[in-house]
Amino acid sequence: MMAITVRIPTPLQKLTQDQPEVTADGKTVDDLLKDLERRYPGFKDRLCDPQGRLRRFVNIYVNEEDIRFLKQEATPLKDGDEVSIIPAIAGG
């Protein structure tokens, strides 16, 4: 068992019983999303489109790095990693 800390954005906290941070398990980001779905049914539907791909306004970070600069959903995870799920935001 690995323990990966996942920070949950406000729109998904209803699924995690208002917890802003949860622990989950997975060798990759994709595995982790599956584990989150097992623990919090409905989770994956919210993050992924009907084809199972991450929605275009969902950003996932592993230890503060955007997974699009790593190996996308195949990005490997190890014990103690921190994952953030963050909606795209504007700025300037």
Binding site: L47, R55, R56, F57, E64
Partner: protein, 413 residues
Amino acid sequence: MSFIKGLRCRECGRDFPAKALFVCEYCFGSLEVDYDYPAIQARLTRELIQSRPPNIWRYRELLPIDGNPTVGFHTGMTPFFRAERLAHALGVKELYLKDDSVCCPTLSFKDRVVSVALSRARELGFDTVACASTGNLANAVSALSAQAGFKRFIFIPADLEAGKVVGSLIFQPRLVAVEGNYDEVNRLCAEIATRYRWAFVNINIRPYYAEGSKTYGFEVAEQMGWKAPRHIVVPAASGSLLVKIWKGFKELHRLGLIEKPQTRLYAAQAEGCSPIVTAIEEGSDIIKPVKPKTIAKSLAIGNPADGYYAADAIRETGGGGAAVSDSEIVEGIKLLGRTEGVFTETAGGVTVAATRRLIEEKRIPRDEPIVVCITGHGLKTQEAVVDSIGRPIRIKPTLDSFEEQVKDKTGGQ
């Protein structure tokens, strides 16, 4: 009187109340303010707008507040003028500048969005405001929140230009310099925003904030004599300004205030950070984030939140985009200065250089009118040009010295 109907998800169309929400809780799409357009149409006329003071609130019915605005009474209605000498230099017939380098109070178009954001934040009951910024937004939030009497926390990348740091600190906010690039500052702020009940203007207040950019487009249309331009070149960071200028033209048309726009939109980006232009040129549906590397720090957003919508608007209008090098940016700043007497920051250099490129590549015809969007002042980014504009001619306080060093050497000019 309020014309706001609520917030609507731009992706899935679900409706939400007009609160401090910014993202659809079902699909993570961004939320957009929805208005009661028939009620606005029954009230708003060109004459009513023209009877009001020259600031952004002359378009108040099309801005997302319920009551009276709090700040921004000197913001907007910036100069719009025909730029004959720049047109000549670029080899085109008709060129106009919309000059927000002199927008009040902090010399960039961000004063528009922040005036709207803070007026809405007050209505939503916040006492503390915050933002993640590449500099211009930091300046605008720092100044306008001082005027409006908010507590404020401003987050910037630690490597910003001195002018932008001083231009925030002078208003005495809590200025936090984060050791990372803008995208990292933004990610951190998104996490901070979930823990503290602050009005982050570009996060939980974003649907309201972003609407302020429409006033740039409204003014262009009004100042052109109530019509939308044929070609308009817009600097693009998150892509929001371009999207909202287009929305502004479409709203004016919907309300019967202008004819149907025949506008083509063009995005101007720096080569070192051009995710939107790249997506357009590659015909890609995906906006691929990048790690920015450019002197145009105000445009250095590698993960543009409105990139998809900007690309859609550009494709819808048959426009395009250009990405320019750092040396072209510096040349663009200097060209604008020596032809039009306008000192713009690096983003303006990007826009001028991109306009030049689009004309040279015949993507904008030389005989059709073009509007170039200047969005910030050059005193904020002096580092970018200080080594390429020469030095003063140093002389002794004597006529001999003057004639020897200046008059003779410069041919008496």
